[in-house]
């Protein structure tokens, strides 16, 4: 905020677009308690898959709370949904996908991201491409590649294209046996399982043969104008506006095409000062509400281990969405379950979320002083009049004990104002 005020909008965005330049040592130190985050694929198999999944989930929550690279983490969240792989379905493989696909390319180039995802054992296992073999194709990956990852469902492909793309990816699998040694859990192309012959995708002949068939399809899709439009629009929805204008969608697609899918350039175009000034409110997802609650309260974070269960009850546990389309980026989807949004802050201030504790000033005996302090600490002085008035009434509703002060903080975070970006 200080940087935003002193250096202005552009400097702030540029700073956030260069995450490696942002010191994140506090977050990194916290993450050191999760050894599986940095293991090589074959090393992960020494752990129970539930431990692997749980550590990744906790790391996601910890990063949401502690990382200063917030725009980067928002982009990681976006691509995690875009290339969704339900963690429970893929055993030990999810952390490698998170690390080498999503986090490696979240602000990189879309084509690199797409290629990495296509060769990610987690994605291959999730969408059954390990069983996609010559003569007996399995369409699962091919369909979602076209529908969800690139062109979009109305992106101009046919059932025939799905079948042909499936053939192009026959033989794309991964080493999955202990006897594979250090290769276990890594990508493998099996020439013997690859369907030979020319395939036709979107009217183009795919004739290179071997692994190049799949690589050619990825290049074709990554550079397709419908991909720029479809994925670009999703990014606008995520960062700015759930119902973007056609003009903005076209402008962002133009940037996408001109920069050959440079994600930073696309984000920069979306987050212009004008666009942000004109953006409508957007409902936070439960994940955003809960990490923002901990940040706003400046809670002492000894552990985040109890937070995933809260997120689960709110329908937003990391890596748990059960279908390949990822958590909905849609305020309508999230608006009907308010109770966890009210209860989480109430539980944090009451000290009943294990691992999180607050050290707020609770010595105010004047309700006005309390409300003004909450306004400054949680809302940077922007608390709306209704919230302020109702909070005052609550503060006056009984003896202003330390507990009532804390509950007032929790109540403020349950307010509708806190639910919207």
């Amino acid at each position: 905020m200080a940087l935003l005020r002193t250096q202005g909008h552009s400097a702030f965005i540029e700073w956030q677009l260069d995450p490696s330049s942002i010191d994140d040592s506090v977050c990194d130190a916290f993450l050191a308690q999760f050894p599986t985050l940095n293991l090589l694929p074959h090393e992960l198999y020494a752990y129970d898959p539930n431990v692997v999944r749980t550590e990744l989930m906790r790391a996601c929550v910890a990063r949401g709370i502690l990382s200063r690279r917030q725009l980067y983490e928002r982009m990681v969240e976006f691509w995690t949904d875009h290339f969704n792989v339900t963690a429970r379905d893929v055993g030990h493989l999810k952390p490698i996908d998170d690390r080498n696909v999503i986090r490696a390319h979240a602000l990189g180039n879309f084509s690199d991201l797409l290629h990495a995802s296509a060769q990610s054992p987690a994605m291959i296992a999730y969408l059954d491409n390990n069983t996609n073999v010559a003569g007996r194709p399995n369409e699962n990956y091919a369909r979602e590649l076209l529908e969800l990852h690139t062109l979009g469902v109305n992106g101009g492909y046919s059932q025939s294209d799905v079948s042909e793309v499936a053939k192009c990816f026959t033989g794309w699998t991964y080493y999955n046996r202990p006897s594979d040694g250090v290769l276990q859990g890594t990508f493998r192309f099996m020439e013997a399982r690859h369907e030979t012959g020319v395939k036709t995708v979107m009217g183009q002949a795919i004739a290179s043969g071997g692994i190049q068939d799949g690589l050619d399809v990825l290049d074709l899709l990554a550079s397709h104008p419908n991909t720029a439009k479809y994925v670009g629009k999703k990014l606008i929805r995520w960062l700015l506006d759930e119902e973007p204008s056609t003009g903005l969608v076209n402008a962002v697609a133009t940037t996408w095409t001109a920069t050959q899918g440079d994600i930073k350039a696309v984000v920069r175009a979306i987050l212009s000062p004008e666009n942000i000034a004109n953006a409508p409110f957007k409902l936070k997802r439960p994940f955003h509400v809960m990490v923002a609650t901990v940040r706003a309260l400046r809670a002492n974070v000894q552990s985040v281990n109890s937070v995933p269960a809260w997120l689960g009850a709110a329908g937003n546990q990391p890596y748990a969405w059960p279908a390949p389309d990822g958590y909905p980026d849609d305020s309508d989807h999230w608006k009907d379950l308010l109770l966890p949004r009210w209860n989480f802050p109430a539980a944090v201030v009451a000290g009943s979320v294990a691992g999180l504790s607050v050290a707020l000033s609770t010595t105010m005996r004047d309700p006005r002083q309390l409300v003004s302090r909450i306004n400054a600490e949680l809302f940077h002085g922007t608390m709306d009049a209704q919230t302020s008035a109702i909070l005052s009434q609550f503060a006056r509703g009984g003896r202003l004990t330390a507990q009532r002060c804390l509950d007032a903080y929790g109540l403020a975070l349950a307010s509708p104002q806190f639910q919207w970006f």
């Binding site: 702030f12 059954d128 940040r295 279908a323 539980a347 940077h380």
Partner: protein, 428 residues
């Protein structure tokens, strides 16, 4: 490890990214939900309440394979297309054979517990039915089917529109519809007095107990000022009070019914508790995920067998519970899925996205004991696009007849816009 909060939060980048920090004027008005244009044209049905059914909508997400749920053993092409995945016919000696229903269709072992319900005339299958859109996208197909209109964007669901166009079963009800999940199913979106409930046993305000009522009241006041969330907040408060009066944990099913120990079983058990509590809930939606069986489908043991086992035991328990407690006559259950799967198995012992499929209808008013269909055949030239079971019956024919005859709502044209339903005689 412990963190110094000041060190951890040296900067407030996250909040700096907040929209509100940049906004000068309120744009929330753009999000205000307006009344749908069809609403004024509707004549509210008043059927006098108690003779109307309570509807339980179950959605099998992922595209359940209709040729396994209710298998056509009388069609030789079923066996020709599925050398590994077809289940042996009822007259075979294989212990994992089908259980015959009508001489042509049979139940897989995992569904066989439902045979007595079928024989009692309380359960019917509808086959070669579904959504006539040619899409093979889960997400489009689910959306079109739940909205009730091919090609529709996400707006209101068919069950939501039903509840919006019929007078309440109980005029004093504060909760007419429930989706047992963490979000409303699109099927029910648009329904008045309806909410998602993840866990009915713990649906209440937490935090410091001495200030709970005070805080709840203040939250209610705060949400009066949010044009988007105010209705949900009101419904939530009323639902908290309602659900507190029902002992879900101590609920005893009637007739010795035993719900399976699963999320699905829990949801149906809670459904039964709501029905028997007679609190004016008239629609329940339950999602059951996991039917996208591209690989290792497991029709006798494995993935799909496990799903069917849970489905069948859940329906069986709900039937027994409702029958023994005298509620079966006002229960109607519909089981839908977005599409069936390709007739021929793939190389992964699974099946890819197809077209026609099967649905299940259960309840006291169902013309049960039948597999309703106009069977199109499974020879390659009889298939849709040479690969899928053709659709000879639009799923909306079944739902519209139920909405009209069992749910007391003659406004089927509003529930299923731009569609003229043909009633097939699925219910009395």
């Amino acid at each position: 490890m412990s963190l110094d909060p000041i060190q951890a939060y040296g900067c407030s980048e996250y909040r700096a990214l907040s929209r509100r920090s940049f906004l000068k004027s309120s744009a929330a008005a753009a999000l205000i939900v307006t009344s749908p244009s069809w609403l004024p044209r509707v004549a509210y049905a008043d059927s006098g309440g108690s003779d109307r059914d309570i509807v339980v909508s179950i959605y099998l997400r992922g595209g359940a394979d209709g040729l396994t749920l209710c298998a056509p053993h009388g069609d030789d092409d079923y066996y020709a297309h599925r050398p590994q995945l077809a289940i042996p016919p009822p007259d075979s000696s294989d212990p994992n054979r089908l259980t015959d229903l009508d001489g042509f269709f049979g139940l897989p072992p995992a569904m066989a517990p439902l045979l007595p319900v079928y024989q009692a005339g309380h359960l019917a299958f509808v086959h070669a039915c579904g959504l006539t859109s040619t899409t093979r996208s889960h997400f489009d197909a689910q959306r079109f089917m739940e909205v009730g209109q091919v090609g529709a964007g996400a707006s209101d669901g068919w069950l939501g529109r039903h509840l919006a166009t019929v007078s309440p079963l109980d005029g004093a009800s504060v909760l007419r519809g429930v989706t047992f999940d963490t979000a409303m199913a699109l099927t029910m979106v648009g329904a008045p007095l309806s909410l998602p409930v993840n866990d009915p046993e713990s649906f209440g305000i937490l935090g410091t107990s001495s200030t709970r009522d005070d805080r709840a009241g203040r939250i209610g006041q705060m949400y009066d000022h949010d044009d988007v969330l105010n209705v949900v907040a009101d419904n939530t408060m009323a639902t908290i009070a309602l659900l507190e009066t029902i002992d879900f944990a101590g609920y005893t099913p009637a007739g010795g019914a035993s719900y399976p120990p699963s999320q699905f079983g829990d949801a149906l058990r809670a459904t039964a508790a709501l029905i028997r509590a007679n609190v004016g809930v008239e629609a329940v939606h339950v999602n059951k995920n996991g039917w996208d069986t591209h690989a290792s489908q497991g029709v006798v043991t494995g993935t799909m067998a496990g799903l069917m086992d849970d489905l069948a035991l859940g329906l069986l328990a709900l039937h027994a519970d409702m029958e023994a407690s005298g509620h079966l006559g006002r229960l109607i259950v519909v089981v839908l899925t977005e599409f069936g799967r390709v007739v021929a198995e793939n190389g992964s012992l699974g099946t890819d996205h197809g077209h026609g499929g099967a649905m299940i209808v259960m309840g006291g008013g169902v013309v049960g004991g039948q597999v309703m269909r106009t069977w199109p055949g499974l020879a390659t030239e009889q298939l849709f696009a040479q690969r899928d079971l053709a659709i000879t019956l639009d799923y909306r024919d079944i739902l519209a007849e139920i909405v009209d005859k069992r749910l007391g709502n003659p406004n089927v044209g509003s529930v299923f816009p731009n569609y003229t339903a043909t009633y097939r005689g699925i219910v009395v």
